[in-house]
Amino acid sequence: MARRGIMIAGAVMILLTACSREGRDTLSSKVPHDQDVNWDNPIDGVPVASLTQAAQSMPFQVSQPMGLGTPARILVSRPDVPTEGRSVAFVFDTASYGRVIVFERLPEVDPSQYDVTNEHLVAIFNGPGALEIDLVRGGTKALVATTAEGRTGVYWLEGKIEFYVSGPTLTKTDALQIVNGI
């Protein structure tokens, strides 16, 4: 009986060791860091009073997003950001979708390579969450990124300007609805 007890204990210890290895493997699994995004000022920018003022420091034509009401604030990149890297962020607090941010900036890849780059990211992506190309705004390819927790951001190009819609609680359905409506 005692010998059987020792054998059981030994087996349990082996199992324990196996579990510890499993723990090590789990450490290597794809658990992303859930960064605490500052949704009040996600671009670490400075507030401006109007679209006109925002446009003054941008290297592209800024558009006012439609259908989301009046922005709670408009943010532009800090002055030390090089001109070609600057962006505008329109922050909306909506009844339907909660907080919504619409970003505008120049893309970091040549516009002719924009879709190819996004399609490549989708092709190599293996989670967690989802990454896909969807057609928006009547046929434009958009990169739709949904985190494992369900928060969605949508990237697309119009002319030479990259748009990015995101928000702390945006679902994919809501995000696509917004993208198609602005």
Partner: protein, 242 residues
């Protein structure tokens, strides 16, 4: 095999059972702090030298400390060399984790990660080498010229080791150092980044001309600037020193 007397066998059995119970009940879930809250970070940005508009790489010499750990899984503390877009939504990083394995033993892992959409990893996180604490370790993230691909390196004393590459949809932005933790105040956040460098558009590595804290959500620790290429993270109430 019959080398234990009856009493010893009973003791061994009881100890084993108690060990298993302790591990099952407390081991992996030993979380006195709230591990479900978002990670907390200090991001420190490098100011580039005159004439350099954007960083294409980030190199940090980071001291590997032994931290108090909350027991969050799989991450507790981490420190990285970081490159982000100017908007902060896309990134590539390489650094180390200080965390616990399945036996609640403290380990220090080199890891890399890249992603978009602020916190959605598209590459990694991938752990690789174990490293020893109480030493400086070099970490480097560098954009491959004319691509949106990044190489990520570590050097813990014997030269640069390529850990891997990550595709993304950006090439340049802000060079940073990151201090991060889970488990709120139960996880320590001591950190030391020195020799901060960035890679400019010509591919030359240069020292930062200044540094400033870009984001700080770690409640009981704070950033302290030592020089234009070095900073430390210290517990509130301790003297500011490097």
């Amino acid at each position: 095999m019959n080398f234990l007397n009856k009493q010893s066998r009973r003791r061994l059995l009881a100890t084993s059972v108690l060990t298993v119970l302790w591990w099952v009940v407390l081991g992996p879930g030993l979380a006195l702090a709230d591990c479900s809250t978002p990670e907390q970070n200090i991001f420190v940005s490098e100011v580039l030298q005159q004439g350099d508009g954007s960083a294409y790489g980030s190199l940090n010499n980071i001291y590997v400390f032994n931290h108090d750990l909350a027991g969050c899984h799989p991450y507790n503390f981490w420190a990285t060399a970081h490159l982000k877009t100017f908007q902060g939504d896309k990134w590539a990083e390489v650094g180390y984790d200080d965390t616990l394995n399945g036996l609640n033993q403290e380990i220090w892992d080199v890891f890399l990660e890249a992603g978009i959409n602020y916190d959605q990893a598209t590459c990694g996180p991938t752990e690789s080498y174990f490293i020893n604490p109480n030493q400086y370790v070099l970490f480097k993230v560098t954009n491959k010229p004319n691509t949106t691909n990044f190489n990520l390196y570590v050097d813990y004393g014997s030269g640069w080791i390529l850990l891997g590459s990550c595709d993304n949809s950006f090439s340049h932005g802000t060079a940073m150092g990151e201090t991060g933790r889970k488990g709120e105040t139960a996880t320590g956040a001591r950190d030391d980044h020195k020799g901060l460098q960035y890679k400019n558009s010509a591919g030359t590595w240069r020292s930062s001309s200044d540094i400033f804290v870009n984001q700080d959500t770690i409640s009981n620790w704070h950033y302290f600037k030592c020089t234009h290429t070095r900073y430390v993270v210290l517990k509130d109430g301790t003297p500011n020193s490097c």
